[in-house]
Symmetry: D2
Subunit: 356 residues, 4 copies
């Protein structure tokens, strides 16, 4: 076992052939940096996909045992994805050491290739839950030979939609949370189902509305609380956030976990929900950092892949959130001290098995 | 001399009195973090203003001697502002350790105060060159007692507009660049002025147009090159970028510096222009990070300062660029090898005084 | 409620009076940065102490209920300390924008004050568990008026030793872990106590020794496994690491938690142990970053506080680890697949109370 | 041109074959992370070597024209190396998401391979100026098949010593600085040479000694100022720092640049010297971060490459500085206001060629 063989460095370190270094062109020094920063990003994308695969394999189980290590490892590996995303966002800044004039020396040689064509990045988006239909400028993806994807790659991205994505898996996981089962709620009046008419939710809604200031009450009054069948008078941003991808039942469970996360059994679940929002936000930061970099690098020019350049990135910035429903749950929180108390039967089920 | 006295720690470390810790309220542990993260930010804002003051004092000189240390110190201190901004952007992430539910415990106690009311941050924006007229939701600023500024503070922000801001100072500095003086350009046909009819710019424009791909040529064909009296058919983003704050003469000088920055005398000037763009972009990142944090923290609720919350931040994100003209110069670059050669007289003036 | 009043900015932003700006001195521009970077650090130290106080208050309880939120909040707040330390370590790099010559302009005015005299930093060290006796160059601390502490401050640091520090509290917490109680281990042969003769540890020790390579076995053969009554033939580094601050019983419990952390009930405890090691390492990084900065700034000169400058920092670097015993536990791990199986009674006690 | 082909992703993304995933072993999930973090580091090492090659090619010129872009590009690319090193140091922290127990799952499969064997990292050290003779535990390097290098790789590292390294190139560059030529110094008494008897240095030395406090004077009294033929009574740290790799003449030139860097012609040179020190310090931080990580990961065990583990890293930490002489120059600075004035002839030579 030797370091170089183990890491297959003969492959990895012989995969940089700048176009401008080829016969007939003038070598542009900074093209090497350009290649390496992208290759390093792709290595990390591979790692993110590897972790995502694991996370999704756990959520694909028909049932996750609270006494197993499953959720804890999911939490741990989502956290790793977050740290990798942090690094990727740092890494963008290395391209700031390439000036616009230096980029211009080799930029035209790349056309119509561009970072838009990263299959792994598109797969990450797709597995998280971004569908082709909802992508900004979705036509771009199909423009083979003009900056879009080769058909095989396009298909590999859309094929992900044939399976469940992380968003839909999380939705199912939240839906099957056992704590709304009627048997735990007898004292609360034998609810038929976990719907909005359940006494718990009626009470919660009442306390929530009381907790709002007058102005806030006006702003949220048109939301149907369970959840998000909105009425009138909302801004477009609110509209966009309301097109919920999670079911009402899943939203209720998510909110419940957020509210009662002091119970040990909810702590890991809460951290998982929080991590999903964090990943979404980091990918937004990634897009924003690219937008800022592209503006600096090419001004108002088009991207090498025939996109509109910075305009394209700006559009994607606000449309590509996947877990916006989870983030939106913050809207509906109330303070701990106002929380309805839970029935004793349920508390027992949420606890460790030790005689206290 | 003792560390504590020198740093006046008796003041600094006794300036945290969380509202929720006061009699009658329930202590919310995380309010301490909330206070300290804002105080640390304000300390750094003070430092940024201190550096900006110095930078502006140099640009206010009627003439900057290339043989003085002036520009080098400007470069150095703009770079310091950049490093501070990087830190401020990192610092935002510490608030991620406060969960939405933890924030809710004391959030209502703060109303209508909010980060919107940071006078120092508004002064930084104003001194860079953001005018009240161009601020997103400019009405908010005047709403005293409802989340806006006290009249005295409002006035201190708008008073900055009575003096020159960094943007206008940079414009003047660029305008008085000596390298377009006719005496250096005799061989090029005795130009009357540095305007767009100068043979250099005619030649440059020709080479620029030749350097564009067909698609790019269509995208930029309607720009009047010196600069930016635009025609039709532009997107709104392009429109916004074209409302130039720099004069054509300044834009020409800026482009000239970017193109010929390999001459030592231009190197520091180039780094200064680059730093201004970087500062703009970091402040955009700051706004984006806040947007992301607010979304996570309060969802669709209003901000404590009666703003629309995340909606407000989103609006400011794209409107508050100050040095967008400098960034836009990248649009008009051509490759080094296509650059018109400079007249010998001028080259002599751009060089060190050593017999080589 | 107004932003400035809430944050007491009149105090915080009026606490910078550079010595060099005073009458009779020549203003040194960078002294402002020097003051502000230290004040910002002190604000963060206050926050760290605030979080540490909370963490210690939990560990001071005679018993921590696994069904309470206690440990989860401890985990969360230790994690916050880690994020703050990360920021502090980033912040050091801002001082890199001050050059040695710029520092020299005001350096002599500060003597004999120095960062050595940060009472809050010393309190953090002391509450974590660093005793005066074990501090590098402990004489320095008493040298009032010559770079050491004023008597009142010295006393406040040593007074911490009258109470339990985090290290000793963690030791007690680990010692009282209930999972070594004989009643859970009947199947394993009715152990008398949790000592090294317990059949579990005998078996573990056997498997551990088998897991070592020949070279490794030689390196660790002289350790007494439960734990660390070392024999001969160790390097000084190993010696230092072996002077254990945790009791054998606590070390056993810590190792047990590390090994069996897949049980939900151990997950938070494991993360807490991991965080303690991380905090230690970040403080080492802090010291190393200071060492590097001091070397660059003053070369071989003495520190303003009459320390030997970089020499002092180098000494502290390796001596001030507090949780080195927890870090050392890694030495004794074996792979998951080799782990002895636990008795069924115990597994029941480590599980959630749900019929599976 | 297609993104995947351009970046040769078929090579880069098919170069991960974890040992533990091979038939007969149990897959250890985290081995993928372990491989990718090392491959990403190697990509960046390649980039650093690429930039270093360029930098050294400039210094290899017999003469660097101040009117060329040479030094400016050197400055720019050294700064890029610094940014890459920052990223590499951030990247280490991703391995913190691998716990010691997770590492143990595949650790033994790697032996005797280890990060010690990174040829590219050793080449970076060697080209900077670290010779085999001065490496900590230099015997390790030759132990082929036991954790050291294959003979071909060992030779490639030591072969670098046949050429000039960056340290010796910088030494020559500093030595040939023209500003000590006698013709510029007539007013100062027609010095024969740039040695320590030159009136300028005599005067400087006098002012330097006057600038010291009494304690400092004692600490530095035994240094021979031009430079560093030390006397007695120094600590070992001082001794180590004094074994100068730069010649007295080069040290004088370096100090002169530091002192008079406000002249534009020195600004870039000063930044270059500063960058070299920064690179040294970042590599020290890299070693320290690895030390900290290894301690956490394997405690007191040996490294997979049969090194002593953390002990080895600790030794390298303080011995592998290359530009310590440049850093040590800070020792000998005096305040700007005390600087001897330069002769008018020289000032003319240090200035731009414009009639002012």
């Amino acid at each position: 076992m030797y370091y170089r063989d183990y890491l297959q460095l003969d492959k990895v370190l012989n995969a940089q052939e700048p176009e401008s270094f080829k016969p007939g062109n003038e070598p542009a020094h900074d093209e090497m940096l350009f290649i390496i920063v992208h290759q390093a990003a792709e290595l990390w994308f591979k790692q993110i996909l590897f972790e995502l695969d694991y996370v999704m394999s756990v959520f694909r189980k028909s049932r996750i045992d609270d006494n197993s290590e499953d959720l804890n490892i999911v939490r741990h590996r989502l956290n790793r994805i977050i740290r990798i995303n942090e690094l990727l966002n740092e890494q963008v800044s290395i391209l700031h050491t390439m000036t616009p004039l230096d980029f211009l020396e080799f930029r035209n040689l790349l056309s119509p290739a561009s970072g838009f064509q990263s299959v792994q990045f598109r797969l990450i988006e797709a597995r998280l839950g971004l569908e082709m239909e909802n992508r900004h400028n979705k036509d771009y993806y199909k423009r083979t030979n003009e900056g879009g994807f080769e058909p095989k790659d396009f298909t590999s991205i859309t094929d992900v939609e044939k399976e469940e994505n992380l968003l839909s898996l999380v939705n199912k996981w939240l839906e099957r949370m056992p704590f709304f089962q009627p048997e735990y709620w007898s004292a609360a009046g034998s609810p038929q189902s976990a719907d909005e008419n359940h006494p718990f939710w009626k009470e919660y809604r009442k306390r929530y509305v009381e907790s709002l200031t007058e102005r806030e009450a006006m702003k949220v009054k048109d939301f149907d609380f369970t959840f998000f069948q909105k009425k009138d008078d909302l801004t477009e941003e609110q509209m966009a956030m309301l097109k919920s991808a999670l079911s009402p039942k899943a939203m209720q469970a998510g909110l419940f976990i957020m509210l009662y996360r002091d119970f040990p059994v909810f702590q890991t679940s809460y951290q998982i929900l929080d991590s999903l929002v964090e990943i979404d936000h980091q990918m937004a930061t990634w897009r924003h950092k690219h937008l800022v970099m592209v503006r600096r690098m090419i001004g108002m020019r088009m991207g090498t892949g025939n996109t509109s350049g910075s305009g394209y990135l700006e559009g994607a910035l606000n449309k590509h959130y996947v877990f916006k429903d989870v983030a939106a749950l913050s809207t509906f929180l109330i303070e701990r001290k106002r929380l309805p108390e839970l029935p004793g039967e349920l508390i027992g089920k949420l606890s460790y098995n030790s005689e206290k």
